[in-house]
Point group: C2
Chain length 207, copies 2
DNA sequence: TGCTTTATTGGTCGCCCACTCAATAGCATT
DNA sequence: AATGCTATTGAGTGGGCGACCAATAAAGCA
């Protein structure tokens, strides 16, 4: 990919280089898994020496953690854009996206990160932050819809949690039984949401 | 732990040694994680040379996969014993166990295995088999309860899937937010089950 | 009792990893 | 055009891993 003549140096501003490294690490983590985010692998991708990546991230754990955060923040913004046209439409779009095959990499990333958190404290902190962030964004959406009377929900926070639990549960099978996309498990997140928001069955199906 | 004088050999029947290895690997996988199931680690635990474990498992992947299967089969038998005193009682016991801290290691193991399945085809096959097995056992229980009129469920298979999805979703947080055991997420598996089986709220609470 | 079988040892090899650090060269400043 | 700062190189260390294999000794059999 990004290759240069050996020995050739490209000197960049630290901030730029750093974000370049994080972005690359995030892409690797999302598509190939967080265990592939190594100093060497990222350096290869960028066409630099491993030592350089090590210079910006003296502890590799930090790089993995930032890669995860970078990737999930991007995804969240794509899934629940802050400026949206109405809670109902946003929700439909949300479930359309999360139930499609394009979301598989994101499911894999969360599964990956949640397991890896067992061994990597730094990553664990980042994962917990993102869990909270995703939940809050969902809660806000539910609260907004409830305020305008589109949804009927007495406990937006609890509803957000339960919807996310359903999504996490359904996506737990992404590495083993991803082909069963038509199974009862695939519909569960949406039906849970419809029930939590006081909507008729099928209301949140993509339009 | 299990230590012998260096050089001392204990010769066992192949079948015995093999199952000894699998049992040890399963224990390590359950308590420390499947990535700790290495030829060296298992050999140390048994007080033998790594080469011996390699002799019984020429491919390490096979050992990891068998360790997982061994551990989950044990757990399933403890959770849903074949000879039980009534579907209702069995279900109460099931949720009592799965929502306790003792179940955390099992949650971690499933999370671990599902993620690792991304890279290890042999493990993936074993995980898929166990997913099917757990679901079938749950389905049988639901079907039995429906037959005797204790439960009201039109689709035992779908109900089993949805209950397991709820459990998997709730236990996804085991490595990051395990302390939130009182959260809405913790109750979800049970309430989903009560709803699926046509039971009143709280019916499945441990007695 | 001696012989054969084979379970087990004990080492080697190559691979990939994070981490360290002195030397080097790109860039901005003067 | 010379200088100073520092981003970057390049090589090395040590550790863990799976895989491989000839030599060895324990156990069953003649």
């Amino acid at each position: 990919m990004t290759s240069r003549a050996p020995g050739r140096r490209v000197r960049k501003a630290p901030a730029e280089r750093r974000s370049e490294i994080v972005a690359t690490a995030a892409r690797i983590g999302l598509t190939e898994g967080l265990e592939c985010v190594t100093l060497r692998r990222v350096a290869d991708e960028l066409g630099v020496q491993p030592g350089l990546v090590g210079h910006y991230f003296p502890a590799a754990d930090e790089l993995v953690a930032e890669a995860f955060t970078h990737a999930t923040m991007r995804e969240l913004d794509g899934l629940l854009p802050p400026d949206s046209d109405g809670p109902l439409h946003t929700f439909r779009r949300f479930f359309g996206l999360t139930s499609s095959a394009e979301f598989d990499d994101v499911s894999k990333l969360w599964l990956n990160a949640r397991h890896l958190s067992r061994y990597r404290p730094v990553l664990r902190e980042h994962v917990m932050k993102q869990e909270l962030l995703w939940c809050r964004r969902l809660e806000e959406l539910i609260a907004a819809g409830t305020a305008t009377g589109v949804f009927a929900c007495a406990d937006p926070w609890g509803a957000a949690i339960r919807v996310l639990v359903a999504i996490d549960g359904a996506s737990a099978y992404v590495n083993t039984s991803a082909d069963r996309r038509g199974t009862p498990a695939a519909d569960m997140p949406r039906t849970v949401a419809e029930s939590e928001l006081g909507l008729r069955r099928g209301t949140l199906l993509a339009s």
